[in-house]
């Protein structure tokens, strides 16, 4: 099913928030666009962890559920 929008963007969710990004954007580019240092975060795409070494190769697809996490204070 091709649900790409006519303006060349796809619709995804990042940490629960809806976003529209250009089709073909890789996860590494997405992190950069969000101002995040890829070496300090971990990325999950549709419930699968994406190894950091492959973030530059994995493009986002329409409907993706992306989670980007890091370490915060906790007990």
């Amino acid at each position: 099913m091709n649900t790409m929008h006519t303006d060349g963007t796809v619709s995804i969710h990042v940490n629960g928030e809806h976003r529209r990004v250009f089709a073909g954007l890789t996860l590494a580019q997405l992190a950069e666009e969000l101002g995040l240092a890829a070496e300090k975060v971990a990325v999950e795409r549709n419930l699968e962890v994406v190894p950091r070494s492959t973030l530059g190769q994995v493009p986002v697809e329409d409907g993706d559920e992306i989670e980007i996490v890091h370490f915060v204070g906790g007990g």
Partner: protein, 267 residues
Amino acid sequence: MNIATPVTSAATEDTWTVAGKTFRSRLIVGTGKYKDFAQNAAALEASGAEIVTVAVRRVNVSDPKAPMLTDFIDPKKVTYLPNTAGCFTAEDAIRTLRLAREAGGWDLVKLEVLGEARTLYPDMVETLRATEILAKEGFKPMVYCVDDPIAAKRLEDVGAVAIMPLGAPIGSGLGIQNQVTIRLIVEGAKVPVLVDAGVGTASDSAVAMELGCDGVLMNTAIAEAKDPVMMARAMKLAVESGRLAYLAGRMGKRRYADPSSPLAGLI
């Protein structure tokens, strides 16, 4: 004539090892509830801890430049122990730790699967299930659990690298409620045992160590003290004192008095 031989530090080096990593400090501290990161880092310094627990949470996409824990506590100098706080099922905990492993690049983790929000008591059925799956995936889970010697054995059987029974509910500061079960767990375990949760003040830490625990893990007792940095130092000293007392072997208990001064030669 050599009267007193100074005890070398090598002779007294008392370390503990979990999943192949050796540590000198027997105190593990949390990184939650502090006023700010600077206070947290100062308390860590005063505690002498070599391991800190951390949580795994979504980055703030709307404010990516906000200060981060890693800017204040260097993961290259201090071992980050990612936890699964807030997870109520094995699946949630496993998902969290898979991400933690990717974020940090190491396998040593703290597993906690909670049963209910009110008591934050562990759900041992889910905890056992998660421990087994994580161990099979190559994780080294240090496991928060109930103070039940049989459950502790089961956890060890399925791959827990450390048993971490609660002394009292998380964040309660009530101290060790059942010294007998903690002692039974220590006696039965082949992996390190650390009291995790319930410590309120220094003497609670000393009690845990006197019972033979390998270490103590705490967050709130330090973070919610009026002076967290001073309390961190108190905890460091209490853990060391308790450990020394355990190693020294305490005197037996008597039901009545026994004089310390000789009775002979009394005028």
